[in-house]
Subunit: 157 residues, 2 copies
């Protein structure tokens, strides 16, 4: 009864990525260290890093001195990138999920609620796409750094 939730996959994933962001350039960080830095279960975290690697957000090296590191600069990876890998499409209802079969929603036309779900979806996406890992590291409050696609950004909230 209290949804509109981001699951632990997304939450832990973002926290793990900030660890890699903070140590960007230091070479590979083992999962053990990432988990310890944020107090997460190592074996669970391993499950999250797999998808992130396959999606190209992080790279890995095996063997001693191995670990994970960010594939791009912290300022170039948005929270939205991470969440979409771990949580799937950021849509509040299946009806307005652009990636799934259209026709999934039979009453699309004339559904009075549809409009607001689209607004929520776009709003959430705009926020998470506007915040980079770099933004999370800097102490300052942010109200919309990292303009989404060249547009001069005012408040994205």
């Amino acid at each position: 009864m209290l949804p509109v939730k981001i699951s632990t996959r997304g939450q832990y994933g973002v926290r793990a990525m900030t660890v890699l962001a903070a140590r960007y350039g230091d070479g590979p960080i083992p999962v053990r260290d990432i988990a310890a830095a944020q107090g997460l279960s190592q074996s669970y975290l391993e499950q999250l890093l797999g998808p992130l690697r396959r999606a190209g957000l992080v790279r890995s090296v095996r063997g001693p001195e191995g670990g994970y590191y960010l594939a791009s600069q912290p300022s170039e990876v948005s929270v939205g990138d991470v969440l979409r890998v771990l949580e799937g499409p950021l849509s509040p209802v299946d009806c307005v999920d652009e990636d799934s079969d259209p026709g999934l929603c039979s009453r699309e036309d004339g559904c009075p609620a549809r409009k607001v779900w689209v607004m929520v979806r776009d709003s959430v996406n705009r926020v998470v796409d506007s915040v980079s890992l770099q933004d999370l590291l800097s102490g300052e409050d942010l109200d919309g750094r990292r303009s989404v696609d060249g547009a001069a950004s005012g408040s994205v909230l």
Copy 2:
């Protein structure tokens, strides 16, 4: 793996409320009619109307010719009002849920992800609070009618 979801409670609830909004002033509408109008299960819908009544959003009359009707004008009821009754606080993670025990999140200070959850929470709340049932009924697209508390509203997305 595809959360950030609003459950059927919230979805059906909003759709049901638009039915009442469309027939505002027509006297009580029986659950049967509401369910039929949106193709919902009658007995499930009854479960949603209970909370909405207790929250003061709708009123009911029993007996023949009874049913439910909106307690306020459609323009005065926001989608957020409905969702908060049926879904609970609209917070993407427990950590930033203002209603629950503070101290629930032990790593509040220095948690790098916290900032973005707050932004998402506020963004979602702003959107759903800015859209009234009336707005859903009118055919026109909306990008932020119904200024939230007197502020001249630009785009709320």
